[in-house]
Amino acid sequence: MKKIEAIIKPFKLDDVKDGLSGLGVKGLTVTEVKGFGRQRGHKEVYRGAEYQVDFISKIKIEIVMESGLVAEAVKMIQEKARTGQIGDGKIFIIPVEEVVRIRTGETGKEAI
């Protein structure tokens, strides 16, 4: 099992979500996050005063799935989170040791 974490632009969330549910992904977690990448924030100037903008607002989605599905899911996120030639964001793939469904105690594949 793997966990996919993807950082994408907010307005792409619906596209990515629809793309993933089209693949049969059963559930995903969405978080509003802030951060910076290569560009460390920037300054805005209004009437001579400077306003430092440190972080950019992004969306983080997290999905846990069987390893076999990962390649397809990543491709889908890549495709949906892109605007034409331009792509922005990152996808992380992390191994997951175990999953437990709280209600039933089921583990592994059944619990995803």
Binding site: P10, G84, I86
Partner: protein, 866 residues
């Protein structure tokens, strides 16, 4: 188990079932209190320890205190009880407590008990107001009643009368703490039924104050002593009964002592209370409106009780210089009063003037003034509403400092909805979701409150923007009316129509009215654009800027967006959302200030182009397709291209699509035509965009000695490159078409990798005796500019022109992994002045100083080579 316990268990079970079936007695809490009383009485009779204590002449009384003392036990309320001894506490008291109290824990009751002597009890009450108020509610349950009487008498004599004023002040402070912690329940969507302002606590304050100042014994004394009228007392009873009933259901549904009526329980309670869905109001929304109305009534009763009867301990500040007011009104104890009822009759104008004065003086209306206003609301008729004097006063109030406080009192007295009947539709409208914490009417007032407090905000940007506004009053009116259309779907649009009528009735300045209507119609525009559209897409921002139209409106819209969100609830203005809205604000601001793309002229030009294109191709396409077409074109393209050219390009795009459909490789469209009388040609090139495309084209042109005089390269949304060149004609003017054919062939070869442009061009540029080397007239210049655009880094290049120069530049940019989105090529005599709008392959501007240096040096290196 004792029989007392079994009896209690059974009775409580019975009562609980009745409650869930909806058949509970009207005064559930009294019945429940009596069941508990009965338990204590029976268990006293059954207790041997109790018998022994009486025999040993150490009499005691069982005394209920707090809510139990007031007979207000709800299903999971704490039961507070004390064993009070006349003098010393005997050692067997502990055993007595175990016998009577411990069984109750088995029943899951939250029992708070104490064993005290009268002396202890008095001492504790003296030092702690919380204990004092609880003991003031003491009620005899069982045991030896003289002990109880003695406690009550001593308490009254030694503590209550002496501490009354101090207690009053303490309650006043507690009231503030409650506002801060629990808020005003009468307009919160998840109110706290016990501690919120306007709930049971307000009533308790009345009881305690009346006990302290009027020696009240039972609640009904409020009426018997003339503190409340018969009707007021009766209405109070009804409102309290509702809150208690709701509280009991809430306890039962949550299975614990829970006084915060969260959303998850509201639908179930509304159903149990028999509320039904009505036309456009859910049962639960109806229910909540009812609860709010009861709370508002309790709140106002408490306030009028305090002002009319207990003013002794109130700390009132009066500013001497503010004392003067208008005829018919007077200030007393810092509150504004209306002289008499007949004054209003002879001068109905006072009904609004009193609010105007309130606003001007920054004071509150007296309880009596509020009562008079309510009584005379019938004087506010159509004539009154249209009268210029009245509407002018209202607008004045919107301008003054204390607008919110004044509107709040207008709201409370009902004046607001009578003066602006449209407001009545939204006043108690509740939205059943977890996002809004206020009903709509209150939300509107809160929005005004936030706008009025802007100058005291921590965020300096908000303050700066606010202080720039030329007519803040427009913003305040927009804040007040922004949700007035919330009587169904599409509320922003409905709100515009409703507000238009109101402002017309007001005879309000037309230009400002247009601003207000715009703000109302677009009050969700910034948030929606910021969270749902791509802010790094120049077109999105340009359209946003064009929709808003000018800087003043943008500023007001930003502030309205902020205040609206703040007034919605804590979740609505997170830093996350704020960041996005702020980004959109700045980008739109820059577009508007720079002007070229979003001036009224630009908007006008673009819409003219739209309609002309529509006329030219309207017959072949339906409206939505034409809209999609405009949607796909870049804003600069639409600005800079004439309608006939657009139609032509559109046809060429059709050709390209056809090629792509037939999987033709490489797919591209190339067309050259002579510009009559200009001595130059126009070349149009279309292909699917990719990096390096521009560099290939320029390379092939150079190979055939075609000099590019100017170039406009655009990218349409789905990634179609549309490049328009003005070039010098082919060397062979007799048979130009031959040259164009060869160029097309070379383009094909270059795209498929069969032609090495680098090699061929280097051969071409080799020194030749026929073209003597010229010295550059001045050194080339490269400037990287990040300020001019929020979307692109501009690279500006000035240099002497020579064959293949443009290719070298474009190729270098390509090698540096830069994406050229727009290029403006201009050649004058033998000098070029080119501007390239570039981004990196992730769509970001180039902000890294090192990277910029590399780019500059690489370009200079190319420019210095011949």
């Amino acid at each position: 188990m004792t029989s007392a316990f079994e009896e209690l268990k059974e009775s409580k079970q019975h009562l609980t079932v009745l409650l869930s079936d909806g058949g509970a007695p009207h005064n559930f809490q009294e019945t429940y209190t009596e069941i508990i009383d009965q338990y204590f009485r029976t268990s006293l009779q059954e207790s041997e320890t109790a018998h022994a204590l009486f025999k040993a002449k150490t009499p005691f009384a069982l005394i209920a205190v707090g809510g139990y003392g007031r007979k207000e036990l709800c299903l999971y309320s704490d039961v507070d009880i004390q064993i009070v001894f006349g003098s010393k506490i005997p050692s067997s008291a502990k055993q007595l407590a175990e016998e009577i109290f411990f069984p109750l824990w088995n029943l899951g009751l939250d029992l708070g008990y104490g064993i005290r002597s009268i002396k202890d009890s008095i001492a504790l009450s003296r030092n702690d107001f919380e204990v004092l108020t609880s003991v003031m509610d003491a009620r005899f349950v069982g045991g030896y009643s003289p002990v109880y009487l003695s406690l009550v008498e001593t308490l009254q004599k030694k503590v209550v009368t002496k501490k009354a004023v101090a207690m009053g002040r303490w309650l006043e402070d507690q009231y503030k703490v409650r506002i801060h912690t629990f808020g005003d329940a009468s307009h919160l969507l998840e109110p706290n039924l016990k501690e919120g302002v306007g709930t049971l606590r307000d009533y308790h304050y009345v009881l305690w104050l009346a006990r302290a100042f009027f020696n009240l014994r039972i609640p009904r004394d409020l009426e018997y002593m003339g503190i409340l009228s018969h009707n007021e007392y009766k209405t109070l009873g009804d409102h309290l009964a509702l809150i208690w009933l709701v509280r009991n259901h809430l306890h039962q549904l949550s299975g614990r002592k829970n006084d915060r009526m969260a959303f998850e329980y509201q639908e179930a309670i509304a159903k149990r209370l028999g509320f039904k869905d009505q036309r456009d109001l859910l049962a639960v929304e109806n229910f909540l409106s009812g609860v709010h109305a009861s709370m508002a009534s309790i709140k106002s009763l408490y306030q009028s009780f305090v002002t009319s009867h207990i003013s002794r301990w109130r700390r009132v500040k009066i500013d001497a210089h503010k004392k003067d007011t208008v005829e018919g009104l007077h200030l007393s104890q810092g509150e504004l009063n209306i002289n008499s009822a007949p004054t209003i009759f002879s001068n109905p104008f006072l009904l609004i003037q009193v609010f105007e004065e309130c606003s001007r003086l920054g004071c509150h209306l007296s309880v009596e003034a509020k009562r008079l206003i309510r009584e005379f609301l019938f004087l506010v008729d159509d004539f009154f509403r249209k009268s210029e004097r009245m509407t002018q006063s209202f607008v004045n109030i919107m301008r003054m400092e204390n607008t919110f406080e004044t509107l709040d009192q207008m709201y409370e007295t009902g004046f607001l909805e009578v003066f602006i009947p449209e407001f009545g539709n939204i006043i108690n409208r509740v939205q059943f979701d977890a996002y809004h914490i206020f009903p709509v009417g209150r939300h509107a007032l809160e929005t005004v409150r936030h706008l009025k407090r802007l100058s005291k905000e921590k965020d300096l940007l908000l303050i700066d923007i606010f202080s720039d506004l030329s007519t803040p009053e427009t913003l305040f009116l927009a804040g007040l009316f922004h949700d007035i259309g919330k009587i169904g779907k599409d509320h922003a649009r409905k709100g515009v129509a409703i507000t238009r009528n109101i402002l017309k009735r007001f005879g309000y300045d037309k230009k400002r009215a247009e601003d207000i209507l715009f703000l109302i119609g677009h009050h969700l525009f910034l948030v929606e654009t910021a969270t749902r559209r791509d802010l790094s897409d120049e077109k999105v921002v340009i359209q946003c800027a064009r929709t808003i139209g000018n800087v003043e409106r943008l500023k007001m819209l930003y502030l309205l967006t902020w205040a609206d969100s703040k007034a919605t609830g804590p979740g609505a203005w997170s830093e996350w959302a704020a960041n996005l809205v702020q980004e959109l604000f700045f980008k739109s601001l820059h577009v508007l200030i720079k002007g070229e793309l979003a001036t009224p002229r630009a908007s006008h030009k673009v819409s003219k182009t739209h309609s002309e294109v529509r006329e030219l191709i309207g017959a072949h396409m339906d409206d939505s397709d034409i809209e999609n077409l405009f949607e796909a074109m870049s804003p600069r393209y639409l600005m800079e291209t004439g309608p006939h050219d657009i139609v032509r390009h559109h046809a060429l795009v059709g050709q390209l699509k056809e090629q792509l459909k037939n999987s033709q490789v490489p797919a591209f469209v190339f067309e050259a035509r002579e510009e009559p009388g200009q001595g130059c040609w126009e070349v149009i090139f279309l292909a699917k965009d990719r990096s390096g495309l521009f560099s290939d084209i320029t390379g092939v042109m150079a190979l055939h000695h075609i000099n590019i005089l100017s170039a406009h390269i655009y990218t349409w949304r789905e990634g179609t490159a549309v490049d328009i060149f003005r070039v010098t004609g082919p060397l062979d003017p007799i048979q130009p078409d031959e040259t164009w054919k060869r160029i097309k062939k070379d383009l094909k070869n270059a795209f498929t990798g069969k032609l090495s442009l680098d090699y061929r061009l280097s051969q071409k540029a080799a020194p030749c005796i026929l073209s003597p080397q010229k010295k550059p007239s001045r050194p080339p210049k490269v400037m990287v500019n990040n300020e001019s655009s929020d979307f692109f880094t501009l690279i500006e290049i000035f240099a002497d022109d020579h064959l293949g120069l443009l290719y070298r530049i474009a190729h270098t940019l390509f090698k540096l992994k830069l994406d050229i989105r727009i290029a403006k090529i201009a050649t004058k005599a033998d000098q070029i002045a080119d501007v390239f709008y570039v981004r990196d392959l992730e769509g970001q501007k180039l902000e890294d100083a090192k990277q910029i240096e590399v780019i500059t040096q690489s370009l200079l290196h190319q420019l210095n080579q011949r």
